[in-house]
């Protein structure tokens, strides 16, 4: 009976850390500030923030795909482009309001993702990467043939569609701004919602059983299969979820731009290369990584944007150096020095007794 005290400390499984609890409170404050930002920020800051948030969302979904799912796609521009074009299509052809049409962008991206996965999943590793790129090219070339939305030269959102956008009238009166600025604010708020939902959603996904299975598939596909994880289903799930999010983001980006062309909407540089560098520089396979990465990316762009090609060269060189010498990215460096995890997904065991088997005697 003297061992009974062992039962007083039952073991428990935690994923939270004290840093994560502080981060949680900080995140709430940050969200409030972000939502309130248009009340006191300039229009150009709102535009910059919109850019940062949408790139962050794209990076989170690419990270989910490549960092957690092991699916290195360089064809995500297919989903940005198709989401944007689907939104333009229903606005121009069916006269729908662009804001609900964004959701349709996500749905159409999923519809495209199904045949894409069907072909691309026949390819392994690097060939999967180029396969997704080929499919993105096919979609770009087909879209260039779609004359109703401007063919190869592209088109703009109809003036009355952008003017009568949901809520913009209210925003105009509340903030005392013109229509174009109101549209920026609306897009910005949608981007805040999208970013918070994305990070929250991915964090939730990774903490569920399914998220654990995902990590298992990434680390060792054979071992994962042997404990009953359906690797094929996991791949499909991740690919479709990422396509949905990427399509939504594409539609939102082009709502704010209000002008589209196939070469821009299906640009491998803008929607995949940049996103990939954001994730790599920040730290692949973590939620924090893309956040750090997008900040570094934005700072670099602000510093070097006037130097055009040099900017891209610097970005490429940084990406290569990080991959060679710090493959876990900047967040990996910070995390290994300090042990901080803002979005802990690992399960840690505390308490419990190591010699429980003796108690029965």
């Amino acid at each position: 009976m003297s061992h009974a005290t062992d039962h007083a400390v039952p073991y428990a499984v935690h994923t939270g850390t004290s840093a994560s609890r502080i981060a949680g409170i900080a995140a709430l404050i940050l969200i409030v500030v972000l939502v309130a930002l248009p009340a006191f920020a300039s229009r150009s800051l709102i535009q910059d923030m919109f850019f940062i948030l949408t790139m962050l969302v794209l990076a989170q979904f690419w990270n989910l795909l490549a960092g957690y799912g092991g699916l290195v796609s360089i064809g995500q521009q297919a989903f940005v482009g198709i989401g944007a074009y689907a939104m333009f299509g229903v606005v121009i052809l069916a006269g729908l309001d662009p804001v609900p049409a964004i959701l349709l962008g996500g749905v159409v991206a999923v519809l495209l993702a199904i045949p894409t996965a069907f072909f691309a999943f026949r390819l392994q590793g690097a060939y999967f990467a180029i396969g997704t790129w080929v499919i993105a090219e096919v979609v770009r070339l087909l879209t260039s043939q779609w004359k109703a939305v401007g063919g190869g030269t592209g088109t703009s959102l109809p003036r009355d569609a952008t003017r009568d956008l949901w809520m913009t009238e209210t925003i105009e009166t509340v903030f005392g701004v013109r229509n174009a600025a109101a549209r920026d604010i609306l897009s910005y708020w949608l981007a805040v919602i999208l970013a918070v939902a994305t990070i929250g959603g991915i964090y939730w996904l990774l903490r569920t059983k399914r998220g654990l299975a995902l990590a298992a598939v990434r680390d060792n596909i054979e071992a994962a299969k042997s404990v009953g994880v359906d690797a094929v289903r996991m791949k499909w799930t991740v690919f479709l979820v990422a396509a949905f999010g990427t399509g939504l983001t594409g539609a939102l980006i082009y709502l704010q731009k209000a002008r589209i062309s196939p070469d821009a909407a299906f640009s491998v540089t803008d929607w995949t290369a940049f996103v990939l560098f954001i994730v790599v520089i920040g730290g692949i396979g973590t939620i924090e990584g893309p956040i750090i990465g997008v900040i570094v990316f934005f700072l670099l762009q602000s510093l070097l944007a006037d130097y055009g090609t040099w900017y891209l060269m610097v970005l490429g060189v940084i990406g290569i150096i990080i991959m060679l010498f710090a493959p876990k990215g900047l967040w990996g460096l910070i995390s290994s020095r300090t042990g901080i995890e803002l979005f802990p997904v690992r399960r840690r065991l505390t308490g419990g007794a190591l010699h429980t088997s003796q108690q029965e005697t």
Partner: protein, 287 residues
Amino acid sequence: MIWVDTIVQGILLGGLYALFAAGLSLVFGIMRLVNLAHGDLIVMGAYLILVFVSFTGLSPFIAAAIAMPLMFALGYGLQKVMLNRVLGDDILPPLLVTFGLSVVLQNAMLEGFSADSQRLPTGALSTASVELGSINVGVLPLLTFGSAVLVIVVLNQIFYRTELGRAFRATSDDATTASLMGIKPANIFAMATGIALIIVTIAALYLGMRANFDPNIGPARLIYAFEAVIIGGLGSLWGTLLGGIIIGVAQTVGAAINPEWQILAGHVALLIVLLIRPRGLFPRAVD
């Protein structure tokens, strides 16, 4: 008759695509590495030849011969210093590093040569043609196709008739055991990439003589090369030639129906092959 002509043109174009693809196929076969900068290296080779031609007035063929050892050294160094570090079970690092290299090369060329399109001078060669039965065939496309066949024959000879080729195959099978035979896998991989860049130079020569090029066309060449390799079956050089021909024919036939469908038709050919033969037409038995 127009269709026969179209198909012959397509087959000859396939020779160019096989040249694009042969280096990619070689490197993948030996070290399972896909170099996403392959297309940009082809464009870089074309600029290197152009620089020699414009400074010395030499024929592009001689300029290419001078460029070859330089490109070999570049490939050797690139593999030794950079790419060997990222080889391994994780496919992400090599993909990301070569993608980064692609972005760096493209923008370095934009900075150095501007976005203006260029062409290698060919003199009378670009318009010369020969009568083959009832159709007229350009000498340059014929030369391209002949070079592609020659490159593949020579590569196969190296692979199956030389000590280096044995070392290539042994290292590809099992690098650790190969090192017990006195083979340095790092050097073997560097040799392979060096040879791949010699082929890249040949591809660059014909690319530059047959059409305009600018710093941005690399990724599209990578895609054509990739399509040829996949259609042929990973690691099979003759398969790669056939893959190139299929892409070439699909493109010329597509273009004959509607000029805007040229590139699309090539991509669709790949998707069809993936649908019916997921491992390509000549998949390697040992993988």
